[in-house]
């Protein structure tokens, strides 16, 4: 029972991380219309930003988190405007390859700048304090991750549901042609969505960094995990991404606890493949989407 509860806690921490990653990825796919295979690398870079702000510059923890989000968002927006927006009208596999190239580029430039060695961040000791909830130890850090994620996703939801530009993002994801005739600035909305999505990467990195080392090649693993979650949730569905993040987070944690930690990733994939065989478009996806293969 103890093991079970503590694995649930681990699962929720993992799920929070996945939700931030996959929520951003789904936003890019839904609003911008790009399959972004460099998504995890933005998290990796954000990790280094956080390291610079927090460890190197000794900024206060919360300040470092906010600065990381801002820096990653600015960086993401710049990359989008320079390179990625040219991919919008292209086929999904061309987008996948180009962003894979971007990912390789980031990975190796990061290696040049920060060396291939893993860096870890020691969080303030107050965060490492363990609290006993019932019979299980939960660190303040765990709570921070889960609560920080919930606050962030709720405020994002508010923005998307209530504000003018948030509504415009939904509009772009639902009907691009209609946006053009109503005069919505589709290019700007896409830039906004990409920037928000990379800000989420920044938060994900800053929250999770103390639990996970950062090194240049870690991005690809983040990307594939984010894709597993987004595909399971249904491409482009933020709601689906959050639900799928919880499913995959819990499955990974429970599998690691009860079956084998060596195969953790495999269980996530297995769950994704099994669910896809029943719901080929994912849990909240649009099943009317056309089947397509690479055609050059």
């Amino acid at each position: 029972m103890n093991l079970f509860v503590s694995e649930i806690v681990n699962g929720l921490v993992l799920a929070s991380f996945f939700a931030l990653l996959a929520g951003g990825l789904a936003l890019i796919f839904g609003v911008v219309g790009i399959v972004n295979f460099a998504h995890g690398d933005f998290v990796m870079i954000a990790g280094y930003f956080f390291y610079e702000f927090y460890v190197y510059m000794h900024l206060p923890y919360l300040v470092a988190i906010v600065l990381t989000m801002l820096a990653t968002a600015a960086f993401g927006g710049a990359i989008y405007w320079l390179a990625l927006r040219h991919l919008i009208a292209r086929a999904w596999y061309a987008q996948l390859l180009a962003t894979l190239g971007l990912s390789i580029l980031f990975e190796n430039i990061a290696q040049e700048i920060w060396s291939p060695n893993a860096r870890s961040v020691a969080t303030p000791s107050t965060l490492q304090t363990a609290m006993r909830i019932g019979t299980v130890n939960v660190t303040v850090q765990d709570l921070y991750v889960v609560i920080g994620t919930i606050i962030c996703l709720l405020s994002l939801w508010l923005v998307i549901a209530k504000t003018r530009w948030g509504k415009a993002m939904r509009a772009v994801s639902q009907n691009r042609e209609a946006c053009i005739v109503t005069g919505i600035n589709v290019k700007l909305v896409a830039l906004l969505a990409f920037t928000i999505s990379t800000a989420l990467c920044g938060l994900a990195a800053a929250l999770v960094l103390p639990l996970q080392d950062v090194y240049p090649t870690v991005g690809l693993a983040f990307t594939t995990q984010a894709f597993v979650v987004v595909i399971l949730g249904g491409m482009g569905s933020m709601r689906g991404a959050v639900v799928a993040a919880v499913i995959i987070g819990l499955v990974d944690a429970l599998a690691a606890g009860y079956i084998s930690s060596a195969y953790t990733d495999a269980f996530g994939y297995a769950v994704m493949i099994l669910i896809l065989l029943v719901h080929p478009a994912g849990l909240f996806g649009d099943p009317s989407q056309r089947r397509g293969w690479v055609a050059l």
Binding site: L97, G101, T224, Y263, I273, W293, L296
Partner: protein, 347 residues
């Protein structure tokens, strides 16, 4: 309903198509290019004395085979699988395991390696082909990752991260008696494999099967309406590609004399995607050229691995953004534009 027909420009007929493209003409077409290429490849070891450089060319040949077999699935039928290294690695492991445990001869090892790769291809393909586009890619990636985890963790079978070592290396007595050293012998063995696989792919894609591949890739509804079963052909391209990769894996195991979980690694996929998409998916010479360019040149220049990868990444990003059809497509476009201009000048 759109009022726009799909395509309405009309170009003057191009009568100077290579013979091989015509139905009923010889399969081999103009023999000059392959003869020259094979000729150069055969005399190479006589010129290149450095074992290091020869090793690089051997590696390039390995990539030629991997890329051509991978392209059957990606370029020919348009199924962007991300699991190709799993077949290569499975072939290598299958050969290594039966060699280590039962000391079977090489021919049997190769057969078993191919068999193992084919079985795995069906295991992956049957569920994965029920999905489409990106989901298909991610599902195959998932299987590839699971295969790598098995290689890492099933220590009883694979020795895990300690690898299976001590495989006999490849050599050929007849070549040895000609005074060709170990490096040269291995080079020639892979040259034979590469030529054989390239010839196989060349014949396959020009057979009726290959035409069916093009048909389902270019237009699945049209292909179905002339009686082609797309699922069957797509699966066949996937499985044939896996078989070729498995075959290569068996030889590769003996070439390195050690098989490790990294032989199944996704980093192969990244290299292969660079080769395929910059060489031109669904092509032939473009892919072969790209396999050499992207393997031999960085090795020969001894570029630091991450500088090389920076170049790869930039090439992939810029290449896909700027050259939608790869080198071969770009070359074709230039050629077409030149002939059109020449024609205009004549007129």
């Amino acid at each position: 309903m759109t009022e726009r027909p799909a395509h309405a420009d009309s170009l003057p007929p191009n009568e100077r198509r290579p013979l091989a493209a015509r139905v009923g003409a010889g399969v081999w077409g103009r023999p000059i290019v392959p003869v020259v290429v094979i000729g150069v490849a055969v005399v190479l070891p006589l010129v290149v004395k450095s074992g290091f450089t020869l090793g690089i060319f051997t590696d390039s040949l390995v990539y030629v085979v991997l890329a051509l077999s991978y392209d059957l699935s990606v370029g020919r039928v348009g199924a962007l699988s991300l699991a190709h290294p799993a077949f290569f690695g499975t072939g290598a492991y299958a050969a290594a395991i039966v060699f280590e445990r039962y000391a079977l001869p090489l021919a049997l090892q190769v057969l078993i390696a191919v068999g193992a790769a084919v079985v795995l291809a069906f295991l992956i393909g049957i569920p994965a082909f029920r999905l489409a586009h990106l989901t298909f890619g991610m599902a195959t990636l998932g299987f590839a990752l699971i295969a790598e985890l098995i290689a890492q963790n099933e220590i009883g079978l694979t020795n895990g991260p300690l690898c299976i070592a001590g495989l006999s290396s490849l050599s050929s007595r007849p070549l040895g008696s000609l005074g060709i050293d170990q490096n040269g012998q291995q080079y020639y063995i892979f040259l034979v494999i590469a030529v054989a696989v390239a010839a196989f792919v060349w014949v396959l894609v020009r057979s009726r099967i290959g035409r069916a591949y093009i048909a389902i890739r270019e237009d699945e509804p049209m292909a179905m309406s002339v009686g082609i079963n797309p699922k069957r052909y797509r699966m066949s391209a996937f499985v044939i590609g896996a078989a070729l990769a498995g075959l290569l894996g068996a030889f590769y195991a003996h070439y390195l004399s050690v098989v490790c979980p990294t032989n199944l690694d996704i980093s192969y996929t990244v290299n292969l995607l660079v080769i395929l998409f910059l060489g031109g998916t669904g092509g032939f010479w473009g892919i072969i050229a790209a396999a050499f360019v992207f393997t031999a040149i960085p090795e020969e220049l001894q570029v630091a691995p991450n500088i090389r990868l920076i170049a790869y990444g930039a090439a992939l990003l810029l290449g896909v953004t700027l050259l939608p059809q790869g080198f071969e497509g770009a070359a074709k476009n230039v050629r077409r534009r030149l002939t059109r201009r020449a024609r205009a000048r004549r007129a």
